[in-house]
Symmetry: C2
Subunit: 87 residues, 2 copies
């Protein structure tokens, strides 16, 4: 399935979350990742979040579509993921 | 169509962008809005962005699905939009 993850977490956890999500997904903007995942992978990511985040103050939105074809993307301004290599 | 907008803009513009997007969409997380829009409304929003943002440094991602039914949403942690009324 195609997955879009947008997080808003305590600043101190941002680097750790980015590093973890980059093993599964493409970074597309500050705190936004997207890509293809299996249900099992998504479940693993959700478990990781539950173990590493403060569920009283951090927030993660996970949007899923059965296929990328249901989702169109337009970009205004710069494509931040073009700097992915230097992160 | 169902629209999800995620922006990463200069801090000084955040309040203005939020105020504008709230006239069309629901705020769901810091810098994330979603909701139903017509093609004409989305075009108006895109024009507004092009007129108010710095296209060399700001970034806006716009995801669209023909219907909300193609998109599922899961939330981990807090639902930030529950504070919508006090913004």
């Amino acid at each position: 399935m195609y997955v879009l993850i947008v997080y808003d977490v305590d600043e101190k956890k941002v680097a750790k979350v980015n590093k973890y999500l980059k093993t599964y997904l493409n970074w597309v903007q500050n705190s936004v990742f997207e890509g293809e995942l299996t249900e099992a992978q998504l479940n693993r990511i959700m478990l990781w979040f539950k173990g590493h985040l403060d569920l009283e103050s951090d927030s993660v939105l996970i949007y899923t579509a059965s296929s990328q074809k249901w989702l169109s993307k337009r970009i205004i301004g710069i494509e931040k993921n073009s700097t992915d290599n230097i992160l």
